[in-house]
């Protein structure tokens, strides 16, 4: 099957680059990587066209693990959902690969960068193309691996190395649940194949499983375990802590992995498993609440961050929260729709910030990411500025742009979802205000006003080269137009193409409202977007001293937000340090060295001490031995005489 080439091409690029990159290819690495990923993109287009015509492919390539009744294949499923994901992954990857040629130019690990990036694309494609849960898990872990490599790409920086490790380990917590979920799926359904599992889902409805003495609904348990994985990978509360730190990686990595593709794997997975999730109200509500809470929680942190990439990172966490909110209220296609539009505008935001960092890097030979040291870049970097504006308009939900349609769909569906839905809708709207505020704050701090960095360097700042700006422009087009495939029926009949397209896999969302309500919801979201924009404009253009004042006025709240609710510190205090200390002082120094080794060395010591005492019996005097012999002989004879 030709489509196996979709993941294999990037894998090939990885193998060539990693084996020969260091000694032979060096700064030509992109010549191998870019065609490979572009080839994947073209093949994905073919696949997409095929799916549009209605041909869904589900093939097993070979049996991967066979053991008793356990049998899992390496196999691919290309249906509507996969096709969308393929398009998102390969198209954005291609753009980012091209962008990286410029961005990473001259870096000493250039070949390594492209190798890892290719490996990532391979893994991500396996993840989306898998036709069973274990292969999904394979891709899931493999993207985590690439994320580890790429976050720690500048491994000489301690913070980068730490961040990579943190990302991997935090994800492992999620995968712990995911893996158990996979096992439980097999034990419940006797297969890991999507088709078998989903078609059998109804039959296990109501089955329970004994978990530590409690009877738990099997489907709910499976869904919650799977969702654990999603929470880790998609950086939802409470496992979101790794994503902001992941910004230690090069910016293209942040754009590709930590905004557009990998972090959305959780969303993809939940959407993929929708036949299971739909059967468990508990699981659905959990997903929705976690999503909604994360959306607003991350948005509040983003309000006060100073690092340009961190702001966008928290924005990503927040937007992912929206997606889970959508999934949780049963609007799977809305979630996937938002995933798809988000990929464009968020990649654009990251790459735009990368362009800014790149420009400042050339000016200062140091990666400046602190927005307080920027400002007034508009006149030096017009292209970057304008794409930033487009992306911001899109993310804040200004009508007509991509973000508007997808976000509005989510809020509308949440609104329809009963009491809990109304509450979540409210959270979503509140998060939207904040989103508008911090997005515009970022633009004003970065591009407006005057340059606040080192004045000497100011004239070195210039627009990025074509290889960077062209992908930006293409993405900007996407950020505008990507949403036009999902126009809600209330605005234009029969224009929700993506919803219809995905319906065979994801089904139609439930719930109907009146047109009036729908218009109201739209109006509210537009209004809050504008309000947020105006407040930001007021605070950062008109009254530039106001933010300082507010910050000092609400010092505790500001500190709370600025320090990200101290969650990192909290985890460090209650998980990391106790485990490390316990393993060092209790397990190793006390239990292993004292107790076990104490027994192990104690027995010989005891025997040795006893022997030392016993040694004294051996006087060395012949007569003593003779006497002992005589007494022994007496005893033996005595036995004969008196005992018989």
């Amino acid at each position: 099957m030709i489509y196996t080439l979709i993941p294999l091409l990037p894998l090939l690029a990885f193998i060539i680059n990693i084996l020969f990159g260091r000694d032979y290819i060096r700064d030509k690495a992109h010549l191998i990587a870019v065609p490979a990923v572009a080839g994947s993109f073209l093949l994905s287009l073919v696949a997409f066209a095929g799916v549009l015509k209605g041909e869904v492919i589900n093939v097993n390539v070979y049996s991967w693990i066979v053991s008793g009744d356990f049998n899992v294949s390496i196999g691919f499923l290309i249906d509507q959902l996969t096709a969308i994901m393929l398009m998102v992954v390969t198209s954005i990857s291609t753009l980012i690969f091209i962008y990286s040629i410029g961005y990473m130019h001259g870096d000493k690990g250039y070949y390594r960068f492209f190798a890892y990036l290719s490996l990532f694309v391979f893994s991500m494609l396996i993840l989306v193309m898998a036709n069973n849960f274990l292969l999904l898990y394979f891709g899931w872990e493999a993207v985590g691996l690439c994320s580890y490599f790429l976050i720690g790409y500048w491994y000489e920086k301690k913070s980068a190395a730490n961040a990579g490790k943190k990302a991997f380990i935090v994800n492992r917590f999620g995968d712990f649940g995911f893996g158990l979920g996979v096992i439980l799926i097999f034990l419940t359904f006797g297969s890991l194949d999507y088709m078998t599992v989903f078609s059998g889902a109804d039959s296990v409805l109501g089955q329970t499983i004994n978990l530590f003495g409690y009877e738990v609904d099997t489907i709910t348990l499976i869904c919650l375990l799977l969702f654990c994985g999603a929470v880790g990978k998609s950086a939802q509360m409470p496992l979101h802590v790794w994503l902001p730190d992941a910004m230690e990686g090069p910016t293209p990595v942040s754009a590709l992995i930590h905004a557009a593709t990998m972090v959305t794997a959780g969303v993809f997975m939940v959407a993929r498993s929708n036949p299971l999730f739909s059967l468990s109200a508990t699981a659905m509500n959990t997903v929705a609440v976690v999503g909604g809470v994360t959306a607003i929680f991350a948005a509040t942190i983003a309000l006060v961050q100073k690092d340009i990439k961190r702001v966008i990172a928290y924005s990503t966490v927040s937007q992912l929260g929206y997606m889970f909110l959508a999934l949780g209220v049963g609007a799977y296609s809305a979630g996937i729709f938002h995933l798809y539009t988000h990929a464009y505008f968020k990649a654009l935001l990251f790459l735009g910030s990368g362009s800014v960092i790149h420009a400042l890097h050339h000016a200062k030979h140091d990666d400046e990411q602190n927005m307080e040291k920027m400002g007034g870049l508009k006149k030096y970097m017009p292209v970057t500025y304008w794409v930033f504006i487009i992306a911001t308009l899109s993310i804040t939900g200004i009508p007509g742009l991509a973000g508007f349609f997808s976000k509005d769909e989510i809020l509308w569906r949440a609104y329809l979802g009963g009491d809990l839905g109304k509450f979540l809708w409210f959270l979503g709207v509140a998060a939207a205000v904040l989103t508008a505020f911090y997005s515009w704050r970022l633009i004003y701090l970065t591009f407006h006003g005057s340059y606040r960095g080192d004045p000497e360097q100011e004239h070195h700042i210039h627009e990025s080269p074509k290889v960077i700006t062209v992908p930006l422009i293409i993405l900007a087009v996407g950020a505008v137009a990507a949403g036009w495939v999902g126009i809600p029926p209330v605005i234009l009949e029969h224009a929700d193409r993506i919803g219809e397209f995905l319906a065979p896999v994801l089904g139609h969302p439930h719930g109907h409202g009146t047109h009036l309500e729908e218009w109201l919801v739209i109006a509210v979201s537009v209004a809050v977007a504008v309000i947020g924009w105006l407040v930001a404009m007021f605070m950062y253009i008109k009254k530039t001293d106001l933010p300082e004042k507010i910050a000092s006025l609400f010092k505790p709240i500001y500190n709370l937000l600025f320090n990200k609710y101290w969650i990192d510190e909290l985890y460090d205090k209650i998980f990391v340090q106790p485990v490390l200390k316990a393993s060092d002082r209790i397990v190793l120094a006390f239990f292993d060295a004292k107790i076990i080794e104490g027994v192990v060395n104690g027995i010989p010591a005891l025997i040795g001490g006893f022997s030392k005492k016993l040694r004294n019996v051996q006087t060395g005097f012949l007569s003593n031995y003779g006497l002992a012999m005589a007494i022994g002989a007496l005893c033996i004879i005595g036995v004969f005489i008196f005992m018989r």
Binding site: G626, I637, G638, I641, R644
Partner: protein, 171 residues
């Protein structure tokens, strides 16, 4: 009391007394000399028991060879000064007690556990027909040939061992 019992009484008293003398003399040379007398009495007892060959061997080998070896060694070491120190160890009462107890035990056991084998074919008359020497020789070189050869080997080893041990150490 028959003649036999009388002779046995003589030998028993002499052997016991001589044994005491042997182990109590301060000077080892005296011990050895008393031992010589003891051996002669043992030889006599052997004759009494119709073991002429062994009586001869007792005199020739024990008295003639082994005791002389003892004498040589005592003289070689020139142990005159040993005479002045006390002759018993501190643990001598224990040793004596053990010995006495042993004697009592052994006497007690005699009637108790000894089960006699059936009589063999070498009755006094049968042996006297050919003579004791002939009888011993026949049985030694037929039935006990292998142990006899081994005994020769033991002696050889003893000779070599004694030479190696006693010779001056080569530095």
């Amino acid at each position: 009391m028959s003649t036999a019992q009388f002779f046995f009484g003589y030998f028993a008293v002499m052997l016991t007394g001589l044994s005491v003398l042997v182990v109590t003399r301060k000077d080892p040379i005296h011990s050895v000399l008393w031992m010589l007398v003891l051996f002669v009495h043992i030889a006599g007892l052997y004759l009494f028991l119709n073991a002429e060959f062994l009586a001869a061997v007792q005199i020739i080998v024990y008295a003639g060879a082994i005791l002389v070896l003892f004498l040589f060694v005592i003289m070689l070491l020139n142990l005159r000064n040993e005479e002045r120190v006390k002759k018993f160890q501190t643990q001598w009462p224990l040793g004596a007690g053990a010995g006495a107890l042993l004697a009592i035990f052994l006497c007690l056991i005699v009637g108790k556990v000894i089960v006699l084998a059936p009589l063999g074919r070498y009755s006094e008359d049968a042996v006297n027909g050919d003579g004791n020497l002939m009888a011993i020789g026949k049985i030694l070189y037929t039935e006990y040939l292998f142990p006899f050869e081994v005994a020769s080997l033991v002696l050889l080893v003893a000779i070599i061992g004694a030479v190696v041990l006693a010779k001056r150490r080569l530095e």
